[in-house]
């Protein structure tokens, strides 16, 4: 392979790698945004939508960067709103529906503990922009993690009903956790280039941290042998199409419209 071709492939992989990180925040942010005005109480409504806002802010930084290094003429909005389902590389966990407060918190908790580890390690990337975004995000994600972990304990170690609901949500969402630590071809290329984080190495710490909180919450740690995957390769659950039809409606109906 000549060097120019190799460069261009590295480049494409970097953009894919950025999608892999940013799409998680985008889709989770969209899910949390659905709760605007619909949260169970005013405080939790504000908290969840604040988290959504943080995630969207981070997404903008990633997409501005991806648009800037892209060889095509694209904007951050094109990347957020005009890709097709298969082109979104988020994990299945973040696209799971809000269902009830236990699911919303469970999903957030399982993601936050991964997110914080990823950001901590992304700070050592050879890519300066990704380092800057990670250093900015880590401060925000720490708050998210604290919020979701507190609620896990409160609901788990709460009433009989809250415990049962929280346990059901964790049991149900657990099958999506293993995928967080899978790597795609683009990921592997970026790890080799010193840009990406090898998420495989975060798995042990993740399950240890998550288990500690679950134990404190007097919840049982699910024992699963089989896990779901696919999102990182663009193969999503049936929920994804519905999220996108809602999220992309404006740009698809009125192409190029601005706020």
């Amino acid at each position: 392979m000549n060097s120019e071709k190799k460069d261009s492939r590295l480049h494409e992989n970097k953009i894919k790698y950025i999608y892999g990180i940013a799409d998680n925040s985008l889709i989770l942010g969209q899910r949390l945004g659905e709760l605007t005005g619909h949260g169970p109480t005013l405080e939790t409504d504000i908290a969840l939508t604040n988290i959504s806002l943080d995630l969207f802010g981070q997404v903008r930084s990633y997409f501005q960067y991806a648009a800037q290094i892209s060889e095509k003429e694209v904007t951050e909005d094109d990347l957020a709103f005009l890709r097709t389902e298969r082109e979104y590389l988020n994990v299945l966990l973040v696209e799971q529906p809000n269902t009830d407060f236990a699911y919303t918190i469970g999903r957030q908790f399982l993601f936050d503990h991964f997110h914080i580890l990823l950001m901590m390690h992304l700070q050592n990337s050879k890519d300066d922009t990704l380092v800057a975004i990670a250093k900015k995000s880590i401060k925000e994600v720490n708050y998210h993690k604290r919020f979701s972990s507190d609620w896990i304990k409160r609901l788990g170690d709460g009433t009989e009903e809250s415990k049962e609901k929280m346990q059901t949500a964790i049991n149900d969402l657990w099958r999506f956790t293993d995928e967080l630590f899978h790597t795609t071809e683009a990921d592997e290329e970026m790890i080799k280039a010193g840009v990406g984080v090898d998420v495989k190495t975060l798995k042990e710490t993740y399950y240890k941290n998550v288990s500690e909180v679950l134990e404190e919450a007097t919840l049982e740690i699910p024992d699963l042998k089989y896990f779901q995957k696919g999102g990182k390769d663009g193969i999503h659950t049936e929920h994804m199409g519905f999220i996108l039809s809602d999220m992309q409606y404006m740009q698809r109906t009125y192409p190029g419209m601005k706020w």
Partner: protein, 166 residues
């Protein structure tokens, strides 16, 4: 306190000082610590600002307000958003902290005190209305991304606490 060298042109500083934070109008963007650089070459002013929180919707407004203020003062202004180094509540000046408190927002404490307060372990946040520390956390997230909601158990007033971010 983190020592940060920030170059702000002396001629531009008074103009930038007049630009308020749109959410907290008593606080100048200089005292908020979001202006990271202001350089002047002839009549060309270039300003670099950094967001408090990634998703802070005030940043676009602040950028526009800076351009307006500098244009009105006869400069050609350009504003860039930078991410690194990431903003810290340590960059809020003493004057800024005072302005926050006078306005009814409890200023950020140091990181370890902040953690204890936000975890509800200790009563440390001082009510900006009556000065009592007999306060409790209502919500870790408040009216904007940068604030938490507290309530004073003495004067019963709810108030915002500017979360520590370091």
């Amino acid at each position: 306190m983190v020592e940060e060298k920030v170059h702000i042109n002396k001629e531009l500083e008074p103009i930038l000082r007049e630009v308020p934070d749109p959410e907290i109008p008593v606080l100048s963007i200089i005292d908020l610590g979001v202006v990271r650089e202001a350089r002047l070459e002839g009549k060309k002013a270039s300003v670099k600002i950094t967001p408090t929180y990634s998703g802070c919707p005030a940043m676009d407004v602040i950028g526009d307000d800076i351009v307006t203020a500098l244009t009105n003062a006869g400069y050609q202004a350009k504003v860039d958003l930078i991410l690194a180094p990431a903003w810290s509540t340590d960059w809020i000046t003493e004057k800024g902290r005072k302005a926050l408190e006078d306005y009814g927002i409890a200023p950020p404490m140091d990181a370890s005190a902040d953690k204890k307060a936000l975890l509800g372990e200790e009563k440390l946040v001082k009510c900006p209305q009556c000065g009592s520390k007999n306060t409790h956390l209502v919500s870790q997230f408040g009216s904007t991304a940068c604030k938490a909601l507290f309530k004073c158990d003495d004067c019963q007033e709810p108030f915002d606490y500017f979360k520590c971010l370091i």
